[in-house]
Amino acid sequence: MPDELVSVTLDGQVVQVAKGTPIIEALDQIGVHVPRFCYHPRMSAVGVCRMCLVEVSGPRGFSLQPSCYLSVAEGMEVVTTSEAVRKAQGGVIEFLLANHPLDCPVCDKGGECPLQDQAFAHGAGETRYVEEKRHYAKPIPISRLIKLDRERCIQCDRCTRFADEVAGEALLDFRGRGNAIRISTFSSVEFDSYFSGNVTQICPVGALTATPYRFKARPWDLTQSASTCGWCSFGCQVSVQASQNELTRVLGIDSDAINHSWLCDRGRFGISEVNNRDSRVLSPWLREGGARREVSWTRAVGAIAEVVKQAKARNGNASVAVIGSGRLNLEDSYAWAKLALDVIGTPLVDGLLGQGGIAATWFERAASIEQALSSRALIALNVDPKEEVPVLHLRLREAVRKGLHLIEVNSTATSLSAMAATSIQLSPDKVGELAEVVMRSVPGGEGDVVILVGGLNRAMDPAVTSGILQSLVAAMPEAKILSALGAANVHGAFLAGLSPGVLPGAGEGALPSSWRAPADSSRANYANILRAASAGEVGVLILLDCDLEEAGVAPAAIEALGERCALISLASYESATSRASAVTLPLATWSEARGSMVNGEGRMLRLGEQLEPAGLSKPGWVAASLVASDLGNDMSIFTAGDIWAELKTWGGAFAGVEPEIFNSTLDGPLLPVARWNAGGPPRALDPVATPGIASVRRQGPDFRAGAVLDPHATGTGSAPTAKVLTAGRLAAADARAGVSVEIGVAGEDEAWLVLARRVYEADARLAANPALASFVRDDRVMVSPARLARLGADDGDRVRVIGSVEIEAVVHSDASIPDWAIAVEGRTIAVMHLVDGAGWSRVRLERLNG
């Protein structure tokens, strides 16, 4: 429905504005900035700060009205420059400053503070108050990440509104009344939310500050670049800010398409691990005679080329295998795909840890986030957005409030359960008929249905999810898919061709002359590669920023693997894998290299660079190029621009994508570009909504200026001549061949394991993060009351969980857990090893005596 327009006069200018627009937004549209504090474009208006008072015509003449709270109406006249408005705004500022301390020189907000700025612009310049100001104990920690200075608070209700309305966790609220009103948590209940960092971003004064950023930098010392959060595949748009070659903070950019300016704490405070040089791999390491030594790049790359050549000579191309990860950016993934498939010529490549089948189904029918949230029904399959793609949880909450019909298909209760219209249990014995049950719960036909697919239950092989997804798609051929698969750039790895049986672009790409078609792709799958490697069939196993321990291989097994074959790892952080490797190359991590990535809706997003790569680390594509040269084929990749030029020739997803596309849009383009509606010029960011971005921009290059924005250095630009060899559609169908829903059989005393992903999981990166490491909690086992009774244990007893490994943990009874399941709230890394890879993992419980 097109918006109904009304005609209003704003400061003498007659304009047409959509009916229902708040006056403040209409004024923003014509470039008139009204001072504001409580107004935030992504939250409901409350009109509490009174700063945005303007004169509005009414039946009894002009009166002062809050422009954020009042919507435009036909024939309305608005005046923002009159003496009355000036006086009112000046008065509000004076009242706000009555109790505000004059500690700007030591306040973190100083220099980017809306109160400071607007006091300069609209205040009197001199105070008439001689009275003592309010004093409170300060700062008080309201969580491990956030500190509160109550004296500075101007009671704008932004943080409390965020906690209640956006995050749905009202752990922060006003307390008291009048002069004594202040923000407060309750008693000893921490503001423990995955989204707590957002309150520091939207605070218009220095009342709420992020502990890791406190006293770290002044805004005018910061440089920033537009980038994309590298934690999950949602692709939140961020401004990465750094000072003196150290990341200082990350702020969410208000991207219409993606994150609406919100971030989760895992993404926001992930910079602490980038800065933690002690846990980074800083130089190439080589294992010689049992000892690990630091060596030069030349030495390490030479050693890699040597073992690859030897292995190939001994056992053929397929004796080299590459396991990638979604942590490489698109350029790195492509360079490594080319190295593996073209230069080395091995078919054993998997950059998606077995999720290739899901990704192939996804890309054929990818839905944008907007489409998913405005669909008639959204089916959530094996996904808990809050734990996997946290900001989608916020968007979903809003969409459900506006009437989205949500159908949940999960094994146990999740954060979706409270929002879902229907919850369907994903149980091992009902997988066959699941599609039918789901279909029945979709109201009114199959059109305009989107499936949100994730990897929530780690104990369920991605092949099982893939099978279910395909049966759903077979039942609803019109359905589109939004993916919440793990690791930031898995979708980019898929599209770059770092996935079994997929060509770059995942389309009908013309094969460049030298590129050997990946043969026998069914063997190329993470689980199969690992099996082959442990059987000694693989001579060289190359791991691209992939910690096997985190993926579910026990440290002892990794060491054994290291003895069976030559483990080569490319890593940013030290981990069990890097320590067991024969050669480790240091990889530039997030915000140390420019590039791009693709998120779960198939949108191409920029990754900005803010730091010099730590130590001797280099971008992944550089490493690939170096190894390739040592193998006698330089792949014609000398700059990131070369990769870019080459990707374009593949067509498919990359047809028509030019690097300049990033300059015309704040959000990147959806791939393929035909799917993308670029819309009008990028929306101007509200400088007061996220104060930190506007103020840094004032002092540095503009976001939209190519210098900061363009992720691709101009390369030699000569695209390799594309000779059409095979035009076969290798991609999707092949990758799915042989996928069936094989989940195994549970033995007498066994139960099916449910091991849900969590935001804070004890991987090597979180352990390296001083700000977040403490959020990893102890393991807990949750079972149904009946199972607990059969076990003869009491709530709180310690039990042993026996699967492919054994762990000990406290058991709890939970009525929401089905009787066929044993849910392990796995946070420590040992828990992840309970997963045995194929089908659906089973475990059994034993009570520990005493």
């Binding site: 209640d164 752990l171 609220d173 006003f174 008291g176 309750f186």
Partner: protein
């Protein structure tokens, strides 16, 4: 004793179920907590949150707006001395000084024996009897320093027990809430009458 238990829990649950949105019961439940413990304890706030589906921060935020809800222990008798204009003209400040001397605590504090809490209050709408004193929200006035000392004596001896219950007790007679308004029945009756009227009008036209 802090969370609601036994009979109090029953009353609390009844209160919460009285409203279409249980959150509306936050204030009545805080009074109930105050009746139980003399002030609203943190445990009670947490329990109220559970009963009405709100977080502790929200309950605390709502409750802390109100002066009559106390979040720290107060005496058995909370004595408020008014110092607004009528009472001030008639010696409210002098009375407050005298009260402070008599009880041995400054305004805002509780006596060591935990029996009296002295407060300076804004106008309590008892101006015709200025200077006014309220004891557990029951009015006395006009009160001079001697009368105040006498009042304290009477409270201590229990002479005023009938008139002044312990702090926290708002009412001593419990009554059931009236049955909910039968909106559906009323609507149905209205619809029936409207239909009748229309039918009559139609028959007249014919």
């Amino acid at each position: 004793m802090a969370r609601f238990e036994g009979e109090m829990l029953g009353r609390a649950e009844r209160l919460a179920s009285l409203y279409p949105d249980p959150r509306s019961a936050i204030i009545p439940l805080c009074h109930l907590a105050q009746e139980q413990d003399g002030y609203v304890t943190e445990e009670a706030i947490a329990h109220i949150g559970e009963l009405v589906g709100a977080t502790g921060a929200e309950v605390q935020g709502t409750a802390s707006f109100y002066d009559m809800l106390k979040f720290e222990p107060v005496g058995k008798y909370v004595i408020g001395v008014c110092t607004n204009i009528s009472c001030m003209l008639r010696g409210g400040y002098e009375l407050l000084d005298a009260a402070s001397n008599t009880l041995g605590v400054p305004p805002g504090e509780t006596t060591a024996d935990g029996i009296f809490t002295l407060e300076e209050v804004e106008c309590v709408a008892h101006c015709d009897k200025a200077p006014a004193v309220q004891i557990n929200y029951r009015y006395f006035g006009p009160v001079d320093s001697d009368a105040f000392a006498e009042l304290v004596g009477q409270l201590k001896s229990g002479e005023l027990d009938e008139q002044v219950p312990e702090h926290g007790t708002l009412i001593r007679v419990l009554r059931d809430a009236p049955p909910p308004i039968p909106l559906e029945e009323i609507d149905a009756e209205r619809a029936r009458q409207d239909a009748e009227r229309e039918a009559r009008a139609a028959s007249r036209e014919v």
